[in-house]
Amino acid sequence: MESIDREADFSAYVRARQKSFARFAYLLTGDAYAAEDLVQAALVKAYAKWDRISGVESPDAYVRKIMVNEHTSWWRRAWRHRERTDSELIRVMDPAGVDAPAHDGELWAHVRSLAPQQRAAVVLRFYEDLSEAQTAEVLGCSVGTVKSHTSRAIRSLRSTMKEVTP
């Protein structure tokens, strides 16, 4: 693919999907700045391999996989630097749902405290609505591991909620 076509093709794809990626990244990281970094880092990598990625059936799955791996690798490293010193690409609005259950904050805090792989499994299963097999594919693990991640997460959430909800 010629450079200009490649750039246009990639740009069109990103513009169509960036909100979805940003939301996914926010659920993985729980932080707007980190989410922005994660999307940027993943898209830089995706662009580097765009000739390959654009030809596959589901580029989204590929990008999500990069994001999950990148986020996990952040945890493995002792340090990380910010991509940009400003942050204008992602904005997290104040909670608008006045009817939201009172324990949401607690539950969200607990989701954020899950280990990266466990949280990724939860987000992929319950936000992205992926099957266990699809989640396993993205995480690069077995279906059994996905089941174990999600059930353990649910169990721990249940025990947390017992503390919150009488």
């Binding site: 990639f10 740009s11 990103v14 513009r15 960036q18 909100k19 990626f21 940003a22 939301r23 996914f24 926010y26 659920l27 707007a32 989410a35 970094d37 999307v39 940027q40 880092a41 898209l43 830089v44 662009y47 580097a48 996989k65 990069i66 791996n69 990148e70 690798s73 952040w74 490293r77 002792a78 340090w79 990380r80 630097h81 910010r82 991509e83 940009r84 010193t85 204008e88 690409l89 992602i90 904005r91 997290v92 609005m93 104040d94 909670p95 608008a96 749902g97 939201a100 259950p101 539950l107 969200w108 989701v111 939860v122 319950f126 936000y127 690069g140 649910i154 959430l157 249940r158 909620m161």
Partner: protein
């Protein structure tokens, strides 16, 4: 609906509520494309080869070899170097910027040359580039001239690749920028156009030594042999510039030792982990090019070292350890014999953060345009340092505030490759 389903449903609702709060007012596409380009530039910048031992007598020899008279020395192109003190030094030339004359009294080498903002400093001599030039990388050639990859500081400026005379006059411009490597002795520049498959080798005076059409990227050039880096499907290529003969080599060759007996490979393993980096050294003198050493993946190459060059005597591979992003890099040196990490790698305490650097010909010191910010990210401060491999460092030029155009940090100092 049982309790487990309830919990799942609640979790699903929560995740959707949280996700719905996220808006994207910006555009990630240009940022990602720019980020990738910067990664490539950073990677190109960190290449380091044997120090160019430029000597004054080489200048007339090369010029006369082209059939032209040696360029007369024009003293008006030089001025003494003001010491940067936290702001951009503003050299005050005694006459207009150079237009073809050679600096007097000093010949550029890797050791005595660096760039700061839109000037190249050669000892006490200033070579002024076009005002507003941002030097992305440069190398010193055997005649004291330069290969310069640069752009103007305007928002949409394109990167340009040029070969300059010792006085800073353009003797060759490569359309559409591109990528380049320079031979250890500084007599050959291997260039791939940024807009086509044109590959060419130039002499320091800008004349064409050889050219071909090839999709591969510049890997190395040593003497009259060029090495093009190809992927698994193409393989790499050895190209004899004198005879035109070619020989297919293993894929992913990014560096060749000065004696041409060994080549370094650098590649990533296409697995789910995505970031398993590998490097190896192959023997170019043996049939089948056997690997002398290979380090791969999380266990074998945990710092994700990526080589870009051999040191002068081939003791080390120099390159970088992986850094997410790419607006500064993590300098890395590994010993070829056993793969031991000599500089960088490991945890944050071993991090050597900067933007450009080279290992000197003595194989024991390196010069680096270093990120001396605390903490290192976001970068705020840039200093020129000379360090030993054991990380005893001395400041050779004072700290400057980094530039921060459009939120991307950029260094002030650039060290030749």
């Amino acid at each position: 609906m049982n309790a487990h389903d309830d919990r799942e449903h609640e979790l699903q609702t929560l995740l959707r509520q949280e996700a719905d709060r996220v808006e994207v007012p910006g555009d990630f596409a240009p940022v990602a494309i720019a980020g990738r380009r910067r990664q490539q530039r950073t990677r190109a910048v960190i290449g380091a080869t044997v120090a160019v031992a430029a000597i004054a007598v080489a200048v007339p020899a090369l010029w006369s070899g082209r059939g032209a008279a040696p360029v007369p020395a024009v003293p008006s192109t030089t001025t003494s170097v003001p010491s940067p003190t936290g702001t951009v030094p503003t050299p005050k030339p005694t006459s207009p910027p150079p237009t073809g004359g050679a600096p007097v009294g000093v010949v550029a080498t890797r050791s005595n040359t660096y760039a700061v903002d839109d000037t190249i400093r050669v000892g006490d001599t200033v070579v002024r580039l076009e005002k507003g030039t941002v030097v992305e990388s440069f190398a010193v050639l055997s005649n004291g001239g330069f290969v310069l990859m640069s752009r103007l500081s305007t928002p949409d400026a394109q990167t340009e690749l040029e070969i300059l005379s010792p006085a800073g006059k353009t003797v060759r411009a490569v359309r559409g920028g591109g990528s380049y490597v320079v031979s250890p002795d500084g007599t050959r520049v291997l260039v791939k156009s940024g807009t086509s498959n044109a590959v060419a080798v130039y002499a320091p005076d800008g004349s064409v030594v050889a050219q071909r059409q090839d999709r591969r990227e510049p890997g190395a050039v040593v003497g009259d042999v060029a090495y093009l880096n190809g992927d698994e499907s193409q393989g790499s290529l050895e190209w004899n510039l004198a005879t035109g003969a070619t020989r297919r080599l293993p894929a992913h060759i990014v560096a060749v030792s000065a004696d041409r007996t060994r080549a370094a490979q650098s590649w990533t393993v296409p697995t789910d982990t995505f970031e398993d980096f590998c490097w190896a050294v192959v023997d170019l003198t043996q049939p089948g090019f056997p690997k002398k050493i290979e380090r791969c993946g999380q266990k074998g190459n945990p710092s994700m070292f990526q080589p870009t060059a051999f040191s002068s005597r081939g003791t080390y591979l120099v390159g970088s350890h992986y850094v997410d992003g790419g607006f500064w890099f993590s300098a890395g040196v590994v010993r070829v014999s056993d793969g031991a990490v000599v500089v960088g790698g490991g945890d944050a305490s071993r991090l050597v953060s900067g933007w450009s650097w080279h290992l000197e010909a003595d194989e024991s010191t390196f010069v680096i345009s270093r990120n001396t910010s605390t903490p290192v990210s976001p970068a705020t401060q840039n200093t020129l340092q000379r360090c030993s491999l054991s990380m005893q460092c001395e400041q050779t030029q004072p700290p400057l505030a980094v530039k921060d155009p459009n939120g991307f940090t950029e260094p002030r100092y650039v060290v030749p490759r």
